[in-house]
Symmetry: C2
Subunit: 191 residues, 2 copies
Amino acid sequence: MNTLSYGLLSFLSRSSCSGYDLMLQIQPFWPAKHSQIYPLLAQLEKDEYVQYEHISQSDKPDKKVYSLTDKGIEALREWLSEPASDPVMRDDLYLKVFCMSLVDSNTARNLFINRLQHYQQKKLKFDNKLPQLQCMTGLPPDEIPSFDSPFFGAYLLLQKAISVNDANIKWCEWALEQIASPAAEKRDSVE
Amino acid sequence: MNTLSYGLLSFLSRSSCSGYDLMLQIQPFWPAKHSQIYPLLAQLEKDEYVQYEHISQSDKPDKKVYSLTDKGIEALREWLSEPASDPVMRDDLYLKVFCMSLVDSNTARNLFINRLQHYQQKKLKFDNKLPQLQCMTGLPPDEIPSFDSPFFGAYLLLQKAISVNDANIKWCEWALEQIASPAAEKRDSVE
DNA sequence: TTATTATATGTAAATAGAGACATATTATCA
DNA sequence: TGATAATATGTCTCTATTTACATATAATAA
């Protein structure tokens, strides 16, 4: 049982769904291709952590809807009682920053401009999701779902994503201020 | 040429060093074991992106000190002219948060307490590194190294690490406030 | 009617990364 | 003197992940 397997069980603990749905839902939290997920689901089914039902659909191809077994729930409980592993972040922008001085400041700036756009697009997504999630909770606006709410986890993670993303946006903007463009340099020296 | 290969070249652009040094230095930015690094260095040497010199040491075992070739520098320049890929983050705490409701609030709280300690330890490291880096720049305190400075990249990345880590600390503390411990619940209901 | 897109599920092959196995030097501590 | 830890370099195997290959249904757009 690897981390992704537990992740699939975790998402199934919220609601039963197909491998395809799991693939789409888990992306923001643990990137994985369908080619990784389908074999793991088959193994989880074989080991009786999950079971599936064949669902016929008229508007779409048929699907297998997976749900947790008692064994699956118990596995999640044990997993939750262990501390989380250290998060792993791999960002080639970090690596590029270390040799940035090999190129002109415009080329260097482009790295940050592109990344800033990436973070801004993420911000747009989050700004959509927050009221959407608030709506689903059925709570009055600005009220936080409680630990028992099925939306508590999603709310916690959205808040984290927002605050980290905002910090990253500020960092990109600050970095761009530090890397004056040649045009700005020229303008500055004229003044 | 994969990302880690470029990462090794990037670190070599700052100063020539051994595979062992590269392994230690690259950890915070792109986790990699020596078993991954040594074969890549051999390949980079074969492809003439780097060259090495055998250095005898009296106080330690001998080492191979790698340095960039012109081809290596050119490869870095081309790599820098392409936008950075999307960062990849894998954190099983995210996955655990989605099924947290399966366990009692104390078990859930422990996840955040452990993670908070992790972030606090990182904060201590950063708080040490910042004045250390400031010192190396030779600049007066609170002055920011410029784009041309060999410490500019490290300074940018340290600032990012600090701001994101601080956001994560605040998030853990806020999450712990949201997950009242059973003891606190009991105390609250008595009041 | 045909092309494309989204849904849906799978396998095979290649690469990336982690963990274990292996060896050697030097310093330090008991 | 012997054990341990840090430095130093390598290989081998296994697992995780990505990319490519493969197929099929149903909706929609050209």
